[in-house]
């Protein structure tokens, strides 16, 4: 048995760092399924677009809701597909956006095939973009410490591969959009 947390528990722990519920924008498949299982909420935006786009969608949301905290949730396979979004976020400097990177070193929805980044140091990658003071491991964070971290910021969570996929989302795009539109009204 691995000592690493599950993806569901890591997402729940990251959300618990915030004093009030942030908007959570999850990548397609694994992150969306586990976000729903961990903490279904109207402020969740379940993205069904291309893998890795959650960080970009979250940046757009953060720009139009500057007084709200936004947490993008990306897998290691997903973020590797949109690594340039870290450069864009660094340049845009949103004061309300953070990224939770959940690293299980496999494509969970694709027969758990290994990711090309499985030996990569994601903490070093995040720190290269945002600096050591804005990129840290989930296991080193407390709510008090997280409250003092300037944004944009990144949390790296090493997680255990799940034996099974998360439960199905059970929501159509129209349902997702309508619920989120209501929850994100200015």
């Amino acid at each position: 048995m691995s000592n690493l947390p599950s993806q569901k528990d890591a997402i729940a722990a990251a959300l618990a760092l915030y004093p009030t519920r942030p908007f959570a924008v999850s990548d397609i498949g694994s992150q969306t399924g586990w976000l729903k299982a961990a903490s279904h909420d109207a402020r969740n935006l379940y993205v069904s677009g291309p893998m890795g786009l959650a960080t970009s969608v979250a940046l757009g949301l953060a720009a139009v809701r500057p007084n709200e905290q936004v947490l993008a949730i990306a897998g290691d396979g997903a973020l590797a597909m949109n690594l340039t979004s870290l450069a864009t976020i660094f340049g845009a400097k949103p004061k309300n956006l953070s990224i939770l990177l959940v690293d299980n070193r496999v494509y969970e929805f694709t027969a758990s095939a290994p990711t090309p980044t499985r030996d990569m140091d994601w903490l070093a990658v995040g720190r290269a973009f945002f600096g050591a003071e804005r990129c840290m491991r989930l296991s080193d964070l407390t709510a008090e410490r997280w409250a003092g971290v300037a944004r944009p910021a990144m949390i790296v969570a090493d997680i255990a591969p799940a034996p099974n996929k998360p439960p199905a989302l059970g929501m159509t795009p129209a349902m997702i959009r309508a619920a989120f539109l209501e929850a994100s009204k200015a």
């Binding site: 069904s48 677009g49 786009l53 940046l59 994100s184």
Partner: protein, 168 residues
């Protein structure tokens, strides 16, 4: 083209978007610089065009107006995002595309981009075509009105046309 860039910028401002995002193309450079300096909305400079579709989708999911500015090759790189975000969720954002490789714009490296745009983009999305040097003042407000009525993104393809610069 400088005047057209200002016209496009004014039209964007008139539509009151909550954000504008893009990746530069020579035909869009002046408008992008004006957007970057604008106090009316943030301009988010993306490293890659597919990100722009994601950024616009994030704004549109919250019910806000967003404008994307990219070249045709960049939109071609972004069709998966355009389809699975813009079309799947019915998001009414406006995409301004410079459709390079026109008869009056014959750079060899642009020709195939234009042919791929015609073959790949037009069958899946509504594209309205315009002479880049003669843009209507109400272009972007009208585009949002159309997209919001249609409940899907709209593409405005701007191109160089023969004789247009002299006429301008």
């Amino acid at each position: 083209m400088a005047q057209a860039g200002e016209t496009l910028f004014r039209s964007i401002v008139a539509a009151k978007p909550k954000l504008v995002t893009g990746v530069p193309d020579g035909m869009l450079a002046q408008t992008i610089m004006l957007c970057t300096a604008s106090p009316d909305f943030p301009y988010i400079a993306c490293a890659r065009e597919e990100e722009c579709i994601g950024v616009a989708s994030g704004a549109a999911m919250a019910g806000e107006r967003a404008v994307v500015m990219v070249q045709n090759a960049g939109l071609l790189n972004s069709l998966g995002a355009f389809a699975t975000m813009g079309l799947r969720y019915g998001l009414p954002f406006v995409v301004i595309v410079t459709n390079r490789g026109a008869l009056a714009d014959p750079n060899g490296y642009d020709i195939e981009k234009r042919e791929a745009f015609d073959a790949g983009v037009r069958p899946m999305a509504r594209v309205f075509d315009f002479d880049a040097s003669h843009l209507p003042d109400d272009l972007i407000p009208a585009a949002f009105k159309w997209a919001e009525a249609a409940r899907k993104p709209v593409i405005l393809a701007l191109e160089k046309r023969l004789g247009a610069e002299a006429a301008a």
